[in-house]
């Protein structure tokens, strides 16, 4: 699916004009919103590690999605497109000078660190990964996206997703494993 090169047909443009320039009508949007709002917000919170920023980007993602001129899509494509918009916004935010990702500077897990404690520790383990690794893992294992969809969403080459995902998964498994070794049962629940 190449969303950037596709041009909307004349009939689509007429329908869009009737909807006030938005890509779907309100009942359809409510349904779409109901199925995507929490997963998208969860993805943004975990990927950027900052709730306020995630909420801003989340609202902006929906606005851009609704006003975008990309052609009509089915539900899965629309969902993938929405996540792609959110990922691009996140990347733009990180590229701004002196505004690096908040969790970028979090140090790697070290053997001398104190034992992980409960749910907070689970989250800390995830936040110790690089933002790109968090994105890949979340899209693959929470959203269930395939490699092609992850590539479209993140702008990476589809061929490199498998390797990047493998590395990120190993790293997270090690971090969780460190939680097991320190005797925290909740980490492996």
């Amino acid at each position: 699916m190449n969303l950037e090169l596709a041009v909307p047909a004349a009939e689509e443009v007429d329908e869009r004009s009737a909807r006030g320039g938005l890509r779907m009508d309100e009942p359809a949007f409510r349904m779409f919103y109901g199925s995507t709002a929490k997963p998208l917000l969860g993805y943004l919170i975990r990927a950027c590690g900052e709730r306020d920023l995630a909420e801003d980007l989340w609202q902006e993602s929906y606005c851009r999605f609704l006003t975008s001129e990309a052609p009509e899509m089915d539900d899965r494509q629309s969902r993938s497109y929405l996540f792609q918009i959110a990922t691009n916004l996140l990347r733009d935010r990180w590229r701004r000078p002196r505004e690096e990702s908040p969790a970028e500077g979090v140090p790697e897990a070290a053997s001398h660190e104190p034992p992980l404690d409960g749910r907070l520790a689970m989250r800390q383990a995830f936040q110790r990964l690089k933002p790109r690794e968090r994105q890949l893992l979340w899209l693959a294992y929470v959203e269930g996206s395939n490699h092609k969809e992850i590539a479209e969403c993140t702008g990476l080459r589809a061929g490199s997703i498998r390797l990047l995902l493998l590395r990120a998964r190993r790293k997270l498994a090690e971090l969780i494993g460190a939680g097991v070794r320190t005797g925290n049962p909740e980490v492996t629940k």
């Binding site: 006030g20 969860g42 609202q59 609704l66 989250r123 294992y141 498994a173 969780i176």
Partner: protein, 158 residues
């Protein structure tokens, strides 16, 4: 060396996501190092996602809808006023380019000034075609071109 990929991986991920992990897949994950790692990470993320899901409360869809409507109106307005903004920019550019010529021209008495008025009409002597100088022709052509382009822009079907 641990292998990097297992054919059962997609099925395992789908099963964890749907909560339908059967004994066959569990048994496989017990002996396959890749799937064991995938299972550990998938369950970890599923639990995290579920706890996050319980914590989150989203604003009503209508809030986002109204915001998007306002954004769409802004976009439509920007598109509709594009010819005006282009014309204004061109006018500014022309004014800047013409300013030195106008200053130079008005600094001395123009040769056509004495010919103005009814006396000038007598000079034309019914020969209007001769009165259409090159400058006037350019002016008329540009005007009609401008009218044609702006009419096309406004009347075109989007």
């Amino acid at each position: 060396m641990m292998k990097a990929y297992c054919e059962q991986e997609p099925a395992l991920v789908a099963a964890v996501r749907s909560g339908a992990l059967n004994s066959e897949l569990l048994g496989h994950a017990g002996i396959c190092p890749v799937c064991s790692e995938v299972l550990l990470v998938s369950e970890f993320l599923r639990d995290d996602s579920a706890s996050l899901d319980r914590e989150l409360s989203n604003p009503h869809a209508s809030v986002i809808w109204r915001k998007a409507q306002a954004r769409a109106r802004e976009k439509a307005l920007a598109r509709a006023t594009l010819p005006i903004r282009i014309a204004r920019t061109c006018a500014y550019a022309l004014a800047i380019l013409a300013a030195p010529w106008i200053v130079l021209e008005f600094s001395r008495q123009p040769s056509w000034l004495p010919a103005l008025g009814f006396k000038h009409l007598a000079v034309i002597d019914g020969n209007w075609l001769a009165a259409l100088t090159g400058t006037a022709l350019v002016g008329v052509t540009v005007t009609f071109l401008g009218i044609a382009l702006s009419s096309w822009y406004i009347l075109r079907k989007e």
